[in-house]
């Protein structure tokens, strides 16, 4: 069954001053989707997410969203000021910052926040300063903040950037669980094997959409070279595509000559 449309981009172009970041984007996100946006640095992944979030207005085309769509946003952890004086609990309740709310966290809010933290394996850490957490815990705090808003649609910018393998697995399992619970998800990543290959739908982006489909359909040498501008090979392991850097063999041969 096809889910209702949450977000629809039609011939959308976004630019910063006169520099076009993404152009002619046609993309539909439906309820139940779990979409990964892949592409090289500067390909417009973050711009596309920001357009979906509404923090950038298209210069051409348009974007429509389901009325009153509750969105949660998890930014890149690299953009976070880890030295800022806030505790885990304060970060989580931030999304309830509308005017009229008292400075002090209410009993109900605290109870809700503790439930979300417990759910994400962060129980007992609510009074810790955010810098005192491990990389995986820090990432999950920001997912918790997005979930505290009870979103129908979760937007994540590079959720596994700069994290170790174990944390990447934790994040992937967490997102899969949330998707099973009915949360629609879109994320950007350039981690092809660790994250993108595990998702049900991938969009290859390099200023414009190069391909949109399942990993098996999209992760092909031709599409990848068109997207990343570099030759890549694709192997199949356990029924899943595994992307190999095309210049790897050449470099290995040159390195072996140096040995």
């Amino acid at each position: 069954m096809i889910g209702e449309v949450l977000v629809e981009c039609a011939h959308m172009t976004c630019a910063y001053n006169s520099t076009v970041a993404i152009k002619n984007i046609d993309l539909t996100i439906r309820k139940g989707d779990f979409v990964g946006i892949v592409g090289p640095s500067g390909s417009g992944k973050t711009t596309l997410l920001k357009a979906i979030l509404g923090s950038i207005t298209p210069v051409e085309g348009h974007i429509t969203k389901k009325p009153h769509l509750r969105m949660g946003y998890v930014p890149q952890v690299e953009s976070v000021d880890w030295n800022f004086p806030v505790t885990v609990l304060e970060v989580v309740v931030m999304t309830r910052s509308s005017t009229g709310r008292l400075p002090r966290v209410t009993k109900d809010e605290r109870a809700d926040a503790l439930l979300v933290l417990e759910r994400l394996g962060l129980g007992g850490l609510e009074n810790r300063h955010i810098r005192e957490l491990s990389g995986g815990q820090q990432q999950r705090v920001f997912v918790a903040r997005a979930l505290f808003h009870r979103p129908e649609f979760l937007v994540l910018d590079e959720p596994t950037s700069g994290v170790d393998v174990r944390t990447r697995h934790e994040v992937l399992h967490l997102l899969a669980d949330l998707h099973d619970e009915g949360v629609s998800i879109i994320l950007s990543t350039h981690d092809l094997n660790g994250l993108a290959a595990h998702l049900p739908r991938l969009v290859c982006l390099n200023s414009e959409i190069i391909a949109d489909g399942s990993p098996v359909d999209v992760l092909t040498p031709e599409i990848l070279e068109q997207t990343f501008g570099a030759p890549m090979e694709v192997l199949v392991h356990g029924g899943m595509p595994v992307v190999v850097d095309g210049v790897g063999a050449d470099i290995a041969e040159r390195m072996s000559r140096l040995a």
């Binding site: 509404g54 946003y73 030295n83 004086p85 806030v86 304060e90 931030m94 910052s97 509308s98 400075p103």
Partner: protein
Amino acid sequence: MIHVIAGITTPFRYQFFNNGIIVATIAGALCGLLGVFVVLRGMSYIGHGLSHAVFGGAAASAVMNINYFVGAGVWGVASGVIIGRIARRRLIGADAAIGVVTTASFALGLALLNRYGQAKKSIEAVLFGSVLGVKTIDIVAVSAVAILSVVIIVALYRAFLFATFDPEVAQVSGVRVAWIEALLMGLLSLTILVTMRVIGTLLISALLVIPASIARMLTNSFARMLWISPIIGGVSAFVGMYLSYFLDTSASATIILSGTLMFIVVYAVTGIRGRTRISGLHHI
């Protein structure tokens, strides 16, 4: 013993000193409160720039015999609008726009006072502050801005926190970030306007930065910073003002030196923990 007590309380026999110490203490606390946002947002240069811009307005209003609060206030707002326009056109960066507009305003103020004012006396009073000219209207003005700031920050505490920590996500989550930032700039401008006559153009940015930096070394909590920093600002202003009477030094300079001494003590006492906490404040 009686002589000692009489000596300690001597300054309080003078009305000008009482007025001065009241204004300085409230101004110190007010700067400490807003300084939390200045420090955590990396906006020290804006406090510095605004005080220089307001100087031009203060000079112009003195020369033209216009009420200080009206003249300097209008001038400060106009400078802010011009800075915003230049920065939005992206011909030059916001920091360069602030540098050009505020230093031009400062230079114009100096030139006006040189040409038409009682130059030396007026310039020194505005640059370094003066407790001699503090009037009841100054006490009323600084108290009103302090009360307004506390009310606004308490009422919009969460929005201020979110917009300071993570403006992009705050915007997406429904916080009107541009409005919050405009409100903060307005409060900062008002604070500079009402405290500048006592603290002076050159030293006011220090009073915005030092108490908040000390508070940051003492706590890891934003909420606690918001009451520790005003206390430190108020105490350093009270102590500095009081000592200046006996040391026969500039009140504003002694206030800043009191704050600096507290900074050094806290820096030494809190050790690595305190230094780590302020290590993220790169602009300090």
